[in-house]
Symmetry: D2
Subunit: 156 residues, 4 copies
């Protein structure tokens, strides 16, 4: 890590919690915020058959959802007070079938930027005391002055 | 496209429908199969606030879920009768905020393979007669002899 | 394609040619500009053993180099006259071993933006009259007011 | 890391060196092997104007070339004695303009597999005692029984 990760806005935890509570998809999935530190955010997701793919594993879309939100909020912890974050793109490797009672996405900022931040998340399957990394996501996050829900502007 | 895309298994439509019906996450999202042709599968998703991110747009995880399933099933249309498909990895560019009453993911096989297939999906926002491509996903799909839901084997 | 691709700067061909001639790596590889149209740029590369990997195929780094430049210059054709382009990130699928006397990277803009453009390139192996798509690259390109070679600013 | 990384073949260092010496593109770039350990390989590249892009920085294709080879050889250190490795795909984030006298790509295996391994590389700019991570690459590597240079088989 080539820079010290210092939050611009001392109120970063409140901002992440407020934004997360507005992500209704997180509630639909059953996901919860587990950790908010400068440059790092963790989101947990209990398994449910309602989130499964054809073999009974957690669907890659659900894995991606928590990893994407963890990376976006990791970037938000380091953004100015009035900034919004949006994923420009991400890539995820699904390394092991997602079979466990509980999953944790750990998003971390690799490189914070004024316009774009790069984040890396690992998704871990939690089974009692066992942990296994099942997926890795590398994301580019756009950091911009706040836009409201009625905005029709481009990500680009 | 450098190869004619011919299904190995004449019953490919039934296989895609059966597998899709087992993806409980698709029902949870409200997604439906719209087209199954050799090398191409479309999946539709009506917008719902339960699928939203913090600005009220469709969450990237929901966009990814339908694009990932469309690409996987596009690969399945060309796979042998006993084969299963699993996404090894994908990368998605989210080009425009996902704001529309309905979305359609169109997955297509770029290169079918015996072990790995490469697929490209576009996700379109549908608003009356308007269509706009809002996301593009490039996926690597593993094609393997069938493994049951009780398998604990690696994707790798 | 949801937008008509119109160049902002009528002199876009000259700008692409000038910038390409400054990319000394293109000359080192032996690459040449083959086509410059609004939203589309082609770059050719003859095979040479000096560009090979361990099995004698064209190295993925050389394939990536021409696809990355084709996508960047495709974005430059649509950028304002004073703008520079830089790849923020890209993802490439290497679908077939790169074995041919000549290769062509065709970069196209999927979505032009004021700050970021998304481009898709295919790399084709040319062997007499035969063509085969051997690789596909999906890129995010930063479009910014001009920065000179002495700039030390971040991509981000 | 969820597994101990143990080489299958005690002669893994010789295999990596032999294969690297056959990658003529590495010699063309001026790259050298710097470290070969189980699950980790480092490749160094001195800057040269012959490798530059339009602003005088190291071209993304040259950065990708050493990161791709570092990841592929990291996978090879853990592969069976008769196996070959080929990149199926990779994604790279270019976080900072590549301006330094020397660069080092450090490839590491995140998840070794019998058929596919997932690797993560960071590329560091070295300037005297300063180090800065300028790029991150996430790769999927195919691990297969040996194929010779005359093979015409698919990557897929």
């Amino acid at each position: 890590m080539s820079r010290v990760l210092e939050p611009d806005d001392p109120d970063f935890r409140t901002r992440v919690k407020t934004s997360f509570s507005r992500q209704e998809f997180m509630a639909t999935l059953g996901a919860s915020l587990e950790l908010i530190e400068p440059g790092e955010v963790h989101i947990a997701l209990p398994f449910s058959t309602q989130l499964s793919q054809q073999h009974g594993y957690l669907h890659a879309g659900a894995i991606s959802a928590i990893a994407d939100s963890a990376n976006g909020y990791a970037a938000l912890t380091l953004a100015p007070a009035d900034a919004e974050v949006l994923a420009v793109e991400f890539k995820i490797n699904l390394m092991v079938p997602a079979s466990a009672p509980r999953f944790l996405a750990r998003g971390r900022v690799l490189r914070p930027g004024r316009r774009l931040s790069v984040c890396l998340a690992e998704v871990v399957a939690l089974n009692g005391h066992d942990q296994e990394v099942i997926a890795t996501m590398l994301s580019t996050i756009s950091v911009r002055p706040g836009v409201g829900p009625s905005s029709t502007g481009d990500v680009t």
